[in-house]
Structure formats: structure tokens, C-alpha cells
Symmetry: C2
Subunit: 212 residues, 2 copies
């Protein structure tokens, strides 16, 4: 398809598509004349993913490019590519290393991962954005007077593990390794607002049941 | 305690505390002289909550004031006060009412709530920010080519219900109705980054198990 059709089918304006092409977020089309290129379903899929990252995830263009690079890195095996791509999705604020709450939070997180038997998480530990995001979150709760301990965190982690299992089942429904990696990134980002809203609805329901 | 001590114990600069007082986010202290007021543990607690909302939740001052108003509204019973406060926490983007995906998403959400037996959610439906956030999330996934159906959503909702049960158990550990309402608001906001990071860690773990 030509640029105009790609724009129409993706709902992304042609000027934005050209910008994504310049920024390396979208692979170039197959050149057919000096001024025209041909695009296919892979471009359409990639465009949808880029929109998910930028519009829903609120991820800056440079960071989105890193995610895309990880997705298309043929030197990695499937698991590493999947991990590297989800890895590159930006997360919350970094832990404040000068703060006492941060060292305590790191101990709590390490105890938690050990207790859960999450060996992969322990192994990659310090380098993992999700691990640092967890530490920052625990430290913030502590500083604000709402400390959370390993017991409570384990309960949340158990639900998180169930969610991750559903996530991966969904990812496996996609055919092809690249599609699976793309889906893993997109579903990670797109399901976040859905999950947070379901938690609030479930809270209202549970609160109605207990106190209503 | 005086303003200086409240600042020291909360870690909030005195200028910020004065701003919160002017904006009605913090209840006034007990005036002891023309220029000095006395503050107590309730002020300390409220300050922590305001910081959780504004710093972690990224919630604008006006919206934080609405949450605080709901917390302190004596005309509501406990459940309603709890619901109203959590309700007032801002959420994601509103659903785009002009879009076909939105009407389809509303049908999906309604079927989901009915199937889950979440009668309270259905009843308050259209007015609930969490319900609208859910619809916006489902519609976005559909528009971006990652449609989610009631079956998949039910699986996420089941985990969300478990999370909500842990949340409410935590809330009930606080004594006093106002403390419980404050805790419900704070824990809703503060656990969001923790949950999202645990989900990503769990994904890495599960992916390692399946493909590693």
C-alpha cells in the first residue's frame, strides 16, 4: 500500500508517519519510484505499536526507539528479545540512592524475590528497570508513613504472577516471534490503565460488600 | 507542635505547608498567638496523604482538594465516604464518545461487570471514573489493533478482585473511620507503581520459564 492508505488504515496522519520514519520508529517502505514507497501489514502493525507506546504509554520518542530496536534485534534469542523490549519500556522515577528508605526498600525487595523464588528477577536484579521501580515504590510508601512489608507485598506479587501468566498466554496467541515480542510490549503498556481501573472497580465492590 | 516541627517531621518545606493551608489541602492549626498555630498528628497524617496524591499520583492541587473534601465529609456514611474519596482520585483519559470503539467497549464492560456479578459497579456505572477509565482502556486497545474480549478481561478482573481484597484488609488494619478512608486513598495511589513493577517482574519470570 502507499503512504496515503497506510495513513487511512492506521488512523495516523501522513505527517506523523513521515516523522516516525525519520526518527527510525518505523522501518522504511520498499522504494518503488524516486518519490514513492510501498508499505505492508508489518508497517501497519509497527505503527499501531508505536502509537500504543507514545499515546497510551506517554513514552518519549527516544525511549520508544530503544524499545523498537530491542524488538528487531536479531542477535538475541526469543526470551532475551522479549525481555529486552519490555525492559526498555520506561518506568517510574528512579530510587533516591541517598535515602535510608531506599536501602531498607532494597532489602525488602530482595527478601520478597527470594521468598517468591523469582530467580530470574534476582539474577538480573540491579539492572532491571522494574526492580528499580519496585524499590522506588516501596521506599516512597515508607517515607510517606505507609510502610509495606514482605508479607503484604507477597500477596500483591501472587496476583501479579497470575496477571503475568494471563499476559504470556495472550502473547502466545500471536504467531511468529516478532509479532509475539511486539504484542508483549503493546499488551504490557495497554493493559496498565485497564488493570488499574479494574482494581478500583473491584475495590468499590469489595468495600460495598464489607461496609455497605 | 509548631510549623517548624511539622515541617521537619513530615519532610515538607514550611513554604509548601503554608501553600497547602491556603489551598485548603491541610486543615488549619489551633491558633495560639496572633502569628503562631499548633499542629498535631492529624496534620502530619494529612500532609503525608497530600504528598502521596500530589507527588506520587501526580494529581493536580484542585483534584487533591476534592479528594480531601470527600474524606472529611461527615454527611456520608463510611462506605460512601470511602467510595467518594477513592472516586475523586483522577484517572486516565475520558472515553471518546464519538468513536465506534467506545460504544463497543461499553458493551464489553457491561457484559464483564454483569458476568462478574459486580452489582455495585453496574449500579453506579456511568458516573464512575473507574468505569469510564475501563471503557477508554478497552476502546484504545481495540483502535490500536489489540482487541480484548470479555473472557480475557474476566481473567484480569479475577486478579483485580484479589488485589482489592488485600487492599481492603490493609485498610481495615487502620483504626478509626477517617484514618481508614485516608489509608484507602493513599494505598490506592501508592500501590499502583508497586503493582505495575511486580507485574513486569512476574512477566520476566514467566517468560524465562516458558522461553528461557
Amino acid at each position: 500500500m502507499r503512504l496515503a492508505e497506510l495513513s487511512e488504515r492506521s488512523g495516523v496522519p501522513t505527517a506523523t508517519i513521515k516523522y516516525y520514519l525519520r526518527e527510525g520508529l518505523l522501518q522504511p517502505g520498499r522504494r518503488v519510484t524516486a518519490t514513492q514507497a510501498e508499505y505492508d501489514d508489518e508497517h501497519l502493525r509497527r505503527l499501531r505499536l508505536v502509537r500504543a507506546l507514545i499515546q497510551v504509554g506517554g513514552i518519549p520518542v527516544a525511549a520508544a526507539r530503544e524499545v523498537i530496536t530491542a524488538i528487531t534485534d536479531d542477535s538475541l534469542d526469543h526470551h532475551m528479545r522479549l525481555g529486552a523490549a519490555v525492559w526498555a519500556i520506561p518506568h517510574g522515577p528512579e530510587p533516591d540512592e541517598g535515602d535510608l528508605s531506599t536501602s531498607a526498600a532494597r532489602r525488602t525487595a530482595d527478601t520478597l524475590l527470594e521468598r517468591l523464588g523469582w530467580g530470574f528477577g534476582r539474577e538480573v536484579g540491579a539492572q532491571s528497570p522494574a526492580y528499580r521501580m519496585l524499590i522506588a515504590g516501596i521506599a516512597t510508601m515508607d517515607r510517606l508513613g505507609y510502610p509495606c512489608d514482605v508479607e503484604h507485598l507477597s500477596l500483591y506479587a501472587r496476583s501479579a504472577a497470575e496477571l503475568a501468566s494471563v499476559d504470556l498466554d495472550l502473547v502466545e496467541e500471536y504467531e511468529g516471534e516478532e509479532q509475539q515480542v511486539e504484542a508483549a510490549v503493546a499488551l504490557t503498556v495497554l493493559y496498565e490503565p485497564v488493570l488499574l481501573s479494574l482494581r478500583r472497580l473491584a475495590q468499590a465492590e469489595e468495600s460495598h460488600r464489607r461496609f455497605g
